[in-house]
């Protein structure tokens, strides 16, 4: 996983509440057994006018011009501005894989669904929760300002606007640490292998029906 420290990037506003992971990456693309290559199919049904199938050459497909990701001014965006309960529904990690593969490293929303939020951290994407009022303001500024960029600093836990307003955000200490250093948490857990074995030995006596 790539570390995330600080990101200054172009912002694209996705003005919909309850964006679900089926919308982020539709099921037909879940047949892949890889972690990469999902970017062209991100938001497939909203982005393209035809029915997407795995392996299609997306550069040849008809676009829905009005969808925000297709607008020329938002090309190259790395920060997604979203509404409440972003990433709800299916646990598919293909959703953050698709966002990452497309080029997003940070998503800002008033709230996220739990599993999606967690999946982001495992893939070097920073989900930032800001107050609904602040998110409203960012939407307005972003839509009014071509080339609108935000500066997201994980170490300082701030999002800074082009005019210099800085908004603090919360992030769990362990997740922050892993993300800042690009750490593999399986390796970290395995450093406690003895503790896990001791737990198992105790449980075997307490609850022998578990077959531990």
């Amino acid at each position: 996983m790539d570390a995330f420290t600080r990101l200054k990037g172009l912002v694209v506003p996705l003005d919909r509440a309850n964006v679900d992971t089926d919308a982020i990456i539709p099921k037909q693309f879940l047949k892949s057994i890889k972690r990469t290559g999902y970017g062209p199919y991100l938001f497939d049904e909203w982005r393209y006018a035809d029915r997407g199938e795995p392996g299609m050459d997306c550069s040849q497909r008809p676009l829905r011009e009005d969808f925000v990701l297709n607008q020329p001014r938002y090309q190259g965006a790395s920060i997604l501005l979203a509404r409440e309960n972003f990433g709800c529904g299916s646990s598919r990690e293909h959703a953050p894989w698709a966002l990452l593969d497309y080029g997003f490293r940070c998503i800002i929303a008033p709230s996220f669904a739990d599993i999606f939020y967690n999946n982001c951290f495992k893939n070097g994407i920073l989900p930032v929760v800001l107050d609904a009022g602040i998110v409203d303001r960012l939407f307005a500024e972003c839509e009014a300002t071509p080339g609108y960029e935000l500066d997201v600093d994980l170490a300082a836990q701030t999002v800074t606007t082009p005019t210099g307003d800085a908004f603090p955000f919360e992030v769990d200490a362990f997740r922050k640490h892993c993300l800042l250093h690009g750490l593999d948490d399986i390796g970290l857990t395995l450093t406690h292998a003895d503790v896990i074995r001791a737990y198992e030995a105790r449980r075997r006596k307490e609850a022998p029906w578990l077959g531990i």
Binding site: N18, I33, H192
Partner: protein, 466 residues
Amino acid sequence: MGKTLFDKVWDQHVVMENEDGSTLLYIDRHLIHEVTSPQAFEGLRLAGRKPWRPSAAVATPDHNVPTMDRERGIDDPVSRAQVEALDANCREFGITEFGMDDIRQGIVHVVGPEQGLTLPGMTVVCGDSHTSTHGAFASIAMGIGTSEVEHVLATQCLIQKKPKRMRITVEGPLPAGVTGKDVALYIIGRIGTAGGTGHAIEYAGQAVRELSMEGRMSLCNMSIEAGARCGMVAVDEVTLEYVKGRPYAPRGELWERAEAAWRELHSDDDAAFDVEHVFEAADIAPQVSWGTSPEMVVPVTGRVPRLAEARDAVQRESWRRALEYMGLREGTPITDIAVDKVFIGSCTNGRIEDLRAAAEIARGRKVAASVKQALVVPGSGLVRKQAEDEGLDVIFREAGFEWREPGCSMCLAMNADRLEPGERCASTSNRNFEGRQGMGGRTHLVSPAMAAAAAIAGHFVDVRAL
């Protein structure tokens, strides 16, 4: 102060607590299917790791499997590759798999309880959001992503932050014609799809206790649609009765010991919850979702809402989009909505009791001529067999339903079963998101009896009036 059910089970699974407040939580049971596991197994291989305790994991393919002509194998080469990858990974890593030709194969959340792989007081995970189903057995059951699937395979643990506790009490007896599915949809309609975010829900109250295990599973299954980490129901006689004698359940002296421990799995009288909701069962009628989110739901006696009734601009905009996508006009009575297809199945409603309820309605009747297809897809090979032993397949076939092989099928349309653009479906599944059952498809979530009734009438009807 007393402990909640969630706290009791959680505390038994804490391996260690880190200074930052995160917990290393031990996982008793890991269920695996073909869609969210290949990258996890690949990760293990790349890192040269082995599963920590292979006997904790059990796998079965469900999302991609065909529901007819199964002896021909899987036509779609991409789906086939994914199912074959599961077979190969299970062989390589020594994990028990109920493969496509095993009668125990089925939707992972139907198979786990049916086999006694899910036991009270366990921690259960699966790379699938509807893992919350297993909470019906007073287990902490959570959906996880693929990176966590790999983490659990490699360490038998998960790094977790303790969620908050919420209790949802449904008081009074369950009215006739109202099922666990209706209770679930009603609750989501009231608290919203983010109402449970960050929380573990415990369902309590007379109406919940009156539900069978199947009904409790439908209810817990949809906890994720309320945004919760998991949903649970305390152990009682109904739970014990269901578990006893299952293939993987303990027997003899071990059963006695387990039963004594399981009887403790309820919240203490003086336990405190972070949030409490109380509803009256008498207020719950059979539910029908009208929009593209499970919270967009009304009783069958109701109407599609009007935009003016939305609470704010964000909701008004999502209602407007939903009406447009669903091809519905504001204020339309639910019973005026005609359906093109009917789907009975899924991890929410693919169990034997669900099929019995649907067959009860279908018996001696015919699917309306205007309905293009009505599918019945059992949740597992064993559910299918039991239904056939009871003659339910004959009832369905005579009424004009198609009787299929077990799998997820049209719940998410990863196999050949799907809606075409614009088609409207009465579905017993759990998600009515845009495109969920096929691009442009329109889903209305209902109980099995309501779905069968819609198939017969050609439009939604109140099952209580039949």
